[in-house]
């Protein structure tokens, strides 16, 4: 613990980085660990010398050859990349968005209505424990097309953090806030959009952020069965053909994808929740 630096001092430092003076220094402060880890990995992998754990340089060369050595007209993407990346990312984002809408909507309803949550909670808690792979037979029957089924798998897999956190947030709106809304006779819509949603927003955002990287994972899972393209399919294919550097490449691609998505998400969150952050800093 940094007992020596005063809290006020820390705040000053923080607001400094938040407030525009980013640039090189900020990047340095945030990223210095990455090269360190990469070097350690490279050394470790070279020492271990196992085909299953290739060093990063091998992986990167492989990735370049496989996906990024294409023609300039395709943004240097190869055919394999063009065929597999966009469909995957599209499904991921669509699935996450659908889960977000359903999760927040249902979560608010359950968080605010005791009766509804009484009826539905056990079913949801039950459903939450069922692994998506076990449901694929059901999904195959319910959703005809491949994309539909993959979307269903993603939505089913990522909705829970959003739902559970939203319920938590909506249920625990500060009592005086809720009372204020009630005595001023705010309508349902206003109560929802002006009180409950903003009050629950910090928790909803925690759920959305969890779900975003879960969506990357579920995208892969959904493509392991019945898909003919996508990153997951690619991983399965590489694994099956013992192209391990290729598999690692796909995994690194997943990581980068998840990182970029998370960074964009935090960017949005910082704006939407700026009141929260600032209210927490200044008392």
């Amino acid at each position: 613990m940094t007992t020596t630096t005063s809290r006020a001092g820390r705040h000053a430092a923080e607001s400094g980085t938040e407030g525009g003076r980013r640039g090189l220094l900020g990047v340095l402060e945030q990223m210095w660990l990455i090269p360190l880890v990469l070097v350690a990995w490279e050394l470790g992998a070279r020492q271990g010398d196992s085909i299953y754990f290739p060093p990063p340089t091998t992986i990167v060369t492989h990735m370049y050859e496989l996906w990024f050595s294409g023609p300039a007209s395709h943004l240097f993407l190869t055919e394999e990349a063009v065929d597999n990346l966009p469909p995957s990312v599209g499904r991921l984002l669509a699935g996450w968005a659908i889960a977000g809408v359903i999760g927040v909507g249902l979560g608010i309803a359950l968080g605010r209505s005791k009766a509804l949550s009484g009826y539905i909670d056990p079913i949801l808690e039950f459903a939450r424990a069922i692994p998506p792979p076990a449901l694929i037979p059901l999904f195959i029957v319910l959703f005809k097309l491949g994309t539909q089924m993959q979307l269903a798998t993603i939505v089913y897999g990522v909705i829970w953090p959003i739902l559970v956190n939203t319920v938590d947030g909506a249920r625990h709106v500060d009592r005086v806030h809720a009372d204020t809304a009630q005595v001023f006779g705010l309508g349902r819509r206003q109560r929802l959009f002006r009180i409950i949603l903003p009050a629950a927003a910090p928790k909803i955002f925690a759920g959305l952020r969890l779900s975003l990287s879960l969506a990357v994972i579920l995208m892969v899972v959904s493509e392991l069965v019945g898909a003919t393209d996508g990153l997951g399919y690619l991983i399965l294919f590489k694994q099956q053909s013992f192209d391990l550097a290729g598999m690692w490449g796909a995994m690194v691609l997943l990581s980068i994808l998840g990182f970029v998505l998370n960074a964009s998400f935090l960017f949005v969150e910082r704006r939407v929740l700026s009141w929260h952050r600032r209210a927490q800093q200044t008392t």
Binding site: D174, V176, H177, D179, T180, Q182, V183, F184, G185, L186, G187, Q190, R194, I195, P198, A199, A201, W275, H276, R278, A279, T282, T283
Partner: protein, 260 residues
């Protein structure tokens, strides 16, 4: 307009239960301003929350315009004792004040104007675009008052609304409440622990005693309107009434918590 009949409330159940209200009867006529005074923890806020429909009293009845209410009555505004928690930190001060005005109809611009007017009246014209947590305690309290006044409710409940402001501002706010209720014929129930204030503001003062709260006395304040901070307080009638209320508050069993 407001009738409270034999209202009782007990918090909790079993051995740790605590009876806060023990059969309160009171009524407030249309357009009247009634002040409630009573010792700390006697049950004033509980009474107010019951009238606002925020807690369901364990016994008794609340009638507004002779209709028994169980839920929050319409056309009501409340200034909470916990004013800082009743402002929404995600909205600017202006939005906080304008929010309930939707019920009054009118477009966005009209609502904004009304909110700005109300903020101006409590001396916070410049704070409209700030957030509540950028304000001092007293300023937050004034925002809560501005919100309630801008709403122009027919029934206004205020729970120690001037507890965090300086004497000068307090006087101004008191006069503001008198002015607004005059102008818009509001009915006001105001909780305070300042005996002077209760006499200065009220048409009537109701005194509660503690554990559980019951009404120990009521006084009609027959002081002329408009009231004036200096002139009214100098009236012999005012001084007398103030002493009366003081006696009622101290009561037969002198409230002296410190000599346990």
């Amino acid at each position: 307009m407001l009738d409270v009949v034999n209202l009782s409330h007990t918090y909790g159940k079993g051995p740790s239960a605590h009876q806060a209200l023990g059969g309160i009867d009171l009524n407030v006529a249309e357009g009247e301003l009634v002040c409630v005074v009573g010792p700390s923890g006697c049950g004033k806020s509980t009474l107010l929350r019951s009238i606002a429909g925020l807690i369901k009293p364990t016994a008794g009845q609340i009638r507004i315009r002779d209709v028994a209410v169980s839920d929050t009555p319409g056309d009501l505004a409340v200034v909470f004792q916990d004013y800082s928690r009743s402002l929404f930190p995600w909205m600017t001060v202006g939005d906080n004040v304008a929010l309930p005005l939707r019920r009054r109809g009118g477009d966005r611009a009209a609502r904004r104007a009304a909110a700005a007017d109300a903020l101006e009246e409590v001396g916070l014209a410049a704070a409209a675009t700030k957030y509540p947590w950028e304000l001092s305690g007293g300023m937050q309290q004034r925002v809560a008052i501005a919100r309630a006044l801008a709403y122009r409710p027919s029934l206004l409940l205020m729970d120690e609304p001037f507890g965090s402001v300086d004497a000068q501002t307090r006087e101004d706010l008191e006069d503001l409440v008198l002015k607004v209720r005059e102008l818009h014929r509001m009915t006001v129930l105001l909780i305070t622990h300042d005996i002077d204030e209760s006499v200065y503001l009220g048409d009537r003062v109701i005194v509660l005693k503690k554990s559980p709260a019951t009404v120990v006395g009521e006084l009609s304040v027959k002081l002329p309107f408009p009231r004036d901070q200096i002139a009214t307080r100098e009236l012999p009638a005012f001084v007398h009434l103030r002493a009366e209320v003081g006696r009622l508050v101290r009561g037969k069993d002198p409230f002296r918590p410190f000599q346990a």
